[in-house]
């Protein structure tokens, strides 16, 4: 395979855009700091998700804070600059109650949990950007490296001064202007160390600490400068600092001349190379035309933002840096941008030897359901969600918490970015590392489906939806340190193949993403590799936010439907994990039937036929029923015999199978005929009713009740584990 990225990721998007033809809504993909799609005729939408894993392992607070303010700059530095509208965050940690001995240099998972949560809290809240979607995954292998995914969406006018806002071009003679914070030694080698496994010499000083307020002041200024047409191009200073930002922008002109001694420093004593590559935070680089330079600099001064003229973009063909007038670096642009030879990675797929366990039917289904609800991967994350301002900007229409007591788990978030329109943005995600131990192909497929399922359940349109992939892998390069490199590389290839297959099948273009490849810990003989993990983020549109649907049951008497067939697919499930098994039957996504179902769900939502809609994921039907019921405050009477499933499938498998693409609906009785009409010919089963009595009752097998439990017990089991975090 010649380049996984170009073959599967860029390739999928090319294919999807070809199929969308005149309905293509992509504006700028894979070339800028973030992807850009249309929102409506006047506005475009920008989205980017980043990881900040290694820094968060060493300094959880600083690492995570910088993760969020760093990805904010991606939105600001895309096209001509966009206004940030929301953040997302997804974390993968080891259990905060981890009690085994920790290998040297690792921080306790609880310390990482608390530091990361606080870092994202300060980064997001102080920046005035609502954090509206996220989740936390737990697996003790994330003790080796925690994963911290931070995303940001932004909005910008389609046209600025008559030009498309998602395009920009530095011109020969434009000044190189750096704005925002000053340069210090912080973050030198940040990009290098985060591309290594965590080892004895990993430097804490490589972690930058961001300051959200300096950045907030700069963004206020830059949006004004953008609207006044004071610059030609903008990008952020992230990994690699000035060397990377100026170097990238100079591709437009073919060279630059940068005077490193003109850069403002936090303190004296930096050497020229340190100035060039420092990753000190909250800095943007702009190309300012000479006739606008004075106005740009004086507006910055007035708004208390530092702006420094560091040189000019040229057509010399050289990456030219000077210090006190003397050349300290002069490289040809061609070498800089094309000079990296392609890596050759050997890979061989040998399916792991996994088998289905022989599991006895539970003696008490209510107890196992409560145990599942209390698992870290399923339980309530309310204590974290409430620490993030999810309502600033007054656009959050479906909030992360929903239901009669404002504490049920929303599938996705809906955000209304414009006060004069009811059009909304829907954002969701899928992440399924527990399936990776069986087959990363299906892990990827399930993550895509989970993201789309959550998105559709809330009202996102299948006609206007894009994806972002963020790969976090363990080192896949065969070596002495990584003797299983062939397998790990093959896992990577298989995930990429699924990404292509399912994005094309669902018609979802990929607009941006990132990979992080060395998520291992190695000191001495001890090596911890994370499970291969892909975050699949989904962003798209709902034409009218007032048509959004939440997951909580609404009224007694409503009918309960299950969409999608339940198979014997418990491999990698939470049920098996609870019993100490992995299993072999990993869920397999059927994109054809799923796509038809999701489109039909969209039609039902547009006609206002759905009272609630909840996705089935970790813990399957049992967990989804419990969540929908206690979020709404009404009980349900459910009959497992009504499921579309193989006849012989036992009650515990019906309840806890994690078959994909399934959705739980409640529908007012007067809409029964319309809903059944819409879904005729598809898998759609009437499985029960919402009842006044606050109790979940489930009949299975021979019609006898296998579960009859008060909602308060279920809710308490679900809320207890992380309540005090």
């Amino acid at each position: 395979i010649d380049s996984l990225f170009k073959t599967f990721i860029v390739g999928a998007t090319r294919e999807v855009r070809k199929n969308l033809a005149d309905k293509d809504f992509c504006l700028s993909v894979f070339k800028d700091n973030a992807g850009v799609i249309t929102f409506n005729d006047d506005w475009s939408l920008v989205f980017k998700v980043e990881t900040h894993n290694s820094p968060s392992a060493l300094d959880p607070y600083g690492g995570a804070l910088t993760g969020i303010v760093g990805v904010n700059r991606d939105g600001m530095g895309t096209g001509m600059g966009a206004r940030l509208i929301f953040n997302t965050d997804v974390f993968c940690f080891a259990s905060p109650f981890f009690a085994n001995e920790l290998p040297p240099r690792l921080l306790h998972p609880r310390k990482i949990f608390e530091g990361v949560v606080e870092g994202v809290e300060h980064g997001g809240n102080k920046s005035g950007i609502p954090t509206i979607n996220g989740s936390i995954q737990f697996d003790d292998r994330f003790a080796g490296k925690p994963l911290v995914y931070c995303g940001t969406a932004a909005i910008m006018p389609r046209l600025l001064h008559g030009q498309p806002s998602h395009e920009k071009k530095a011109q020969v003679g434009d000044h190189i202007v750096m704005t925002g914070g000053r340069i210090g030694k912080d973050g030198i080698h940040g990009a290098t160390f985060s591309s290594e496994e965590l080892h004895e010499g990993s430097p804490v000083t490589a972690v930058q600490i961001g300051d959200p307020i300096t950045q907030r002041k700069m963004f206020d200024f830059l949006l004004l400068a953008r609207d006044r047409g004071l610059y030609h191009s903008i990008t952020d200073n992230g990994a690699g600092g000035l060397s990377s930002s100026v170097g990238e922008m100079a591709e437009d002109t073919g060279g630059f001349e940068l005077h490193l001694d003109r850069a403002p420093l936090k303190y004296q004593g930096l050497r020229p190379w340190e100035i060039l590559i420092s990753e000190a935070q909250e800095r943007m680089t702009l190309a300012v035309p000479p006739d606008k330079l004075d106005e740009f600099i004086s507006l910055a001064a007035e708004m208390d933002v530092e702006a420094s003229d560091l040189g000019v973009f040229t057509a010399s063909g050289y990456f030219h840096c000077l210090y006190q007038g003397r050349t300290v670096c002069c490289l040809s642009m061609a070498f800089i941008h094309e000079g990296v030879p392609q890596m050759q990675l050997p890979a061989r797929w040998t399916p792991p030897a996994v088998t289905e366990p022989d599991v006895a039917a539970p003696t008490d289904y209510a107890v196992i359901l409560q145990q599942l609800l209390g698992r870290l991967n399923i339980c309530s994350k309310e204590s974290v969600v409430r620490r993030y301002d999810h309502e600033v900007q007054a656009g959050t229409v479906v909030k992360p918490l929903t239901g009669v007591s404002n504490d049920g788990p929303s599938n996705a978030a809906v955000f209304r970015p414009l006060y004069d329109s009811f059009e909304g943005v829907v954002v969701a995600h899928g992440i399924c590392p527990s399936y990776s131990d069986i087959d990363t192909y299906h892990m990827m497929a399930c993550a895509i489906d989970e993201g789309l399922r959550n998105y559709v359940a809330t009202g996102g349109s299948m006609e206007h939806v894009a994806g972002l992939d963020n790969f976090c892998w363990c080192d896949p390069v065969l070596s002495e340190k990584t003797p299983d490199g062939l397998y790990k590389a093959a896992q990577l290839v298989r995930a990429n193949q699924a990404l292509y297959d399912y994005c094309v099948a669902f018609g979802v273009p990929l607009i941006s993403g990132k990979d992080s490849m060395k998520n291992d810990y190695q000191i001495g003989e001890r090596k911890i590799s994370i499970p291969p993990t892909v975050l699949f983020s989904v962003i798209g549109k709902i034409d009218d936010v007032r048509r959004a649907v939440t997951m909580d049951v609404k009224k007694p008497g409503d009918l309960v439907y299950l969409l999608g067939r339940t198979e014997d697919e418990l491999g990698g499930s939470q049920y098996y994990a609870q019993l100490g098994h992995l299993g072999a039957n990993v869920p397999v996504v059927d994109a054809v039937s799923a796509l038809q179902r999701y489109r039909t769900v969209n039609r039902a939502q547009q006609q206002g036929l759905l009272a609630s809609c909840h996705d089935l994921a970790d813990g399957g039907l049992g967990v989804a029923l419990a969540e929908a019921a206690f979020a709404g405050g009404f009980g349900m009477d459910i009959d497992l015999d009504q499921l579309d499933a193989p006849v012989e499938l036992r009650a515990d498998r019906r309840l806890f199978s994690e078959s994909q693409s399934r959705l739980l609906l409640t529908v007012q009785p007067q809409h029964q005929a319309q809903v059944e009409d819409l879904f005729s010919g598809q898998s759609c089963s009437l499985i029960g009713r919402v009842v006044e009595r606050p109790e979940l009752t489930v009949a299975g097998g021979d019609g006898r009740n296998i579960i009859q439990v008060p909602l308060s017990r279920l809710k308490d089991a679900w809320q207890a584990p992380l309540r005090e975090m």
């Binding site: 809290e121 809240n125 102080k126 920046s127 005035g128 300051d211 959200p212 307020i213 907030r216 002041k217 206020d220 007035e302 708004m303 208390d304 969600v385 409430r386 620490r387 993030y388 301002d389 999810h390 309502e391 600033v392 900007q393 007054a394 959050t396 229409v397 479906v398 909030k399 918490l401 929903t402 239901g403 009669v404 404002n406 209304r416 006060y419 936010v545 007032r546 959004a548 649907v549 939440t550 909580d552 609404k554 709404g632």
Partner: protein, 272 residues
């Protein structure tokens, strides 16, 4: 008539909620400008040209010295270019002219830090503060509020209760002395209190989310024209802002908008 009511919303240096506050003012019928504080400090825009000053939520200067402390110092001590006055002097003139000031969240913290609230007996001196929540962390949570109908507050006229979100880490209202609290109570300057499900003031978490004394969520000055509160009225302007809009029958217009409508109506009848 209402088009002549001019509202100003200050932005910059860490203010975050200026856009939605401006939207609320416009919905209520005021002609509204969002003005960066640097435009006031350079003298390009003057407070005198407006009737309704809005200090919006955010984290002025990161709240690094305590909520709004650095921001308060800027108001009180930074000189407006070309004049021997500070913004606080402008603000005093603004208040003396009987105009309206509302501070929400960080804006409330700012008014309290400057001593503009509660300013009993016309004393501009800090007597109250908003400090760290009892639980020691930031929280975003919708709260029921009881409105004191005996209060002179012009913003809450005709209201008995409110339901609004709080979003803060430093919202616990405290006073410098018991006498200050007694005075606030005697003069009916406590406008809104955190309430339980029965609608009564409460000290228990989470209904009282921060441990504020006397369950205080917001206070006004004796004229009722200066009002500060921790909950965010600009976060509930439309029914889709309500956390349960998908399950309850709610009026199209959100409760928070009433505060802005009352302000604009007051200006239209008393000041124009």
């Amino acid at each position: 008539m209402a088009a002549d009511v001019r509202a100003i919303v200050i932005s910059g240096f860490g203010t975050n909620c200026e856009r939605e506050v401006a939207h609320a003012c416009r919905q209520a019928g005021a002609q509204t400008d969002i003005v960066h504080i640097s435009a006031l400090l350079t003298g390009r825009v003057r407070l005198d040209d407006y009737h309704f000053l809005n200090l919006a939520g955010g984290f002025l200067d990161g709240d690094d010295l305590g909520s709004a402390k650095a921001g308060a110092n800027r108001w009180m001590h930074a000189r407006v270019a070309g004049r021997q006055e500070s913004l606080a002097d402008d603000l005093r003139r603004f208040v003396a002219a009987g105009k309206l000031v509302m501070g929400v969240c960080n804006g409330f913290q700012l008014l309290v830090q400057m001593g503009v609230l509660p300013s009993v007996d016309g004393n501009i001196r800090q007597s109250c503060s908003l400090t760290f929540n009892d639980r020691g962390r930031f929280e975003n949570r919708w709260c029921a509020l009881q409105v004191n109908s005996a209060s002179p507050c012009v913003y809450t006229r005709g209201l008995t209760d409110l339901y609004l979100p709080i979003r803060h880490g430093e919202g616990k209202f405290v006073t410098d002395a018991p006498a200050t609290l007694a005075r606030l109570e005697d003069d009916q300057l406590i406008v809104v209190r955190y309430a339980d499900s029965a609608g009564l003031p409460t000290m228990s978490y989470p209904d009282n989310p921060n441990g504020s004394v006397a369950a205080i969520a917001g206070i006004c000055d004796p004229t009722g024209r200066i009002f500060g509160l921790m909950p965010h009225p600009e976060a509930y302007l439309h029914r889709t802002h309500h956390p349960r809009w998908t399950r309850e029958d709610l009026p199209e217009e959100g409760m928070g908008l009433r505060l802005y409508r009352n302000a604009v109506e007051f200006i239209a009848t008393e000041l124009l």
